[in-house]
Amino acid sequence: MFILYLKHSIISNMKNVVILGAGTAGTLMANKLRKKLPAKTWNITVVDQERAHYYQPGFLFVPFGIYSEQDVIKPKDNFFPKGVNVIYAKIDRIIPEENKVTLENSEKILDYDFLIIATGTRIAPEETQGLLGDLWRKEIFDFYTIEGAVALAKYLETWKGGKMVVNITELPYKCPVAPLEFIFLADAYFKKKGMRDKVEISLVTPLPGVFTKPIATKMLSKVVEEKNIKVIPDYNISEVDNVNKKIIDYAGTEVEFDVLVTIPTNKGDDMIERSGLGDDLNFVPTDKFSLQAVGHPNIFVIGDAANLPTSKAGSVAHFAAEVVLENLMCAIEGKPLDAKFDGHANCYIVTSDKTGTLIDFNYDTEPLPGLYPYPVVGPFKLLTDNRMNYFGKLFFKWMYWNLLLPGRSLPVTDHMSMKGKRYPKHHVN
């Protein structure tokens, strides 16, 4: 009896960190935190509804037969450290006033001292009228889900050519360079098949050009032009006409397609809405420096789930993880939060099936040319199109599974560094 009592008192003295979501951000946080927090006093619990971990940067290669589903999937269980409780369940909601999380179809209630929201973003094609109509996954595809990417690969195998329209619905969306990479890979794919002359590729975007930041836009516009890809800017889609196979925007402009590749509206998890913690797209309002949920000092938000003014991308989650870790440790010790996130993002951009470029930027500094990650030796060149950068992108898959998810160090700095970067001549800020 005494032992039972003792055991109970020890258990009740345990403190709890709960991590919601075990994608890139949640998994690497679980690994980093378990190393830092003593197992005798801190429980770490991770909740996710899916057992499969997808290497999402690989989805881009699936439609073109470069990767198959098998190349981008591994069991989530492979990546959790010892001493972390993993619950595979759907999250019902967070009750921030009571520091509790409830699960669907379960009586279990998770109490937390600190909560980390890492529930990411999902595509929400239902937000656009007609997008989920008769042609969905028949002649309208996405490549942000494995199902969409695989269906598109199958479709393209026997496609005879025509108008391929790649449409970005609205901002923000995950991996902002992916639609560009998609059209570059499509160009290479159809060339290889000897049918590039039978395919008209258009990028239809709500942005004023191919990208937002001026120096990168200039470089990428040149690539788009060289590949004879049509760009229709300032286009805000309102509906899809499945009968006449065209998209229509709010200004009434119609664009016909034979195959539509859509980047649908992105939303945060529906659980965020049920918890009353989201903005109008279910992203969590988050302090852009401390990474705490606004108004909830014991909730941190990492990765795509946050409404931060930077890219929704795995690299951002990776760089933010150190800040969350440091600030969480400060909060546990009751100290002021020291670490400040700078919005650092870093993306390889494939420009064909042989070449790639690389961009590195943060809240304040736009992508610049130069060398990365080291000045003088690189080996990667920023905003320059070459073969080395393409290999960098392919090699990154190994780094992702073996270094990034397990929370090991990568040979790059978490804060963006100006070392090796330069503004182009004649550039006025």
Partner: protein, 103 residues
Amino acid sequence: MAQKEFAGQMIEVNEEGYFTKPEQWNQEVAGAVAREEGLELTEKHFAVLDYLRKRHFAGEALTIRSVGKSGVVDVKDFYALFPGAPLKKATKIAGIPKPTGCI
């Protein structure tokens, strides 16, 4: 920083013609900026402009989606009022900075 005359007042603007001092705005000035954009302002326009200014001063990021959900105007009407690129046009006429899409 450049200055430009609207309705007899000197207004500080940036290279794209957006106000750098939103407090210099008033309805007459708005009317003059709108005429440059080829628009005659109605009450409906002003309801949208007021909404945009309020949201801007509250520190909120403006998007076409948020305007469409505001209850002041739906997205279709927003386009009808400010044809072409409604948010860019409307913020210019409302005397507030051009919204920057984050990427």
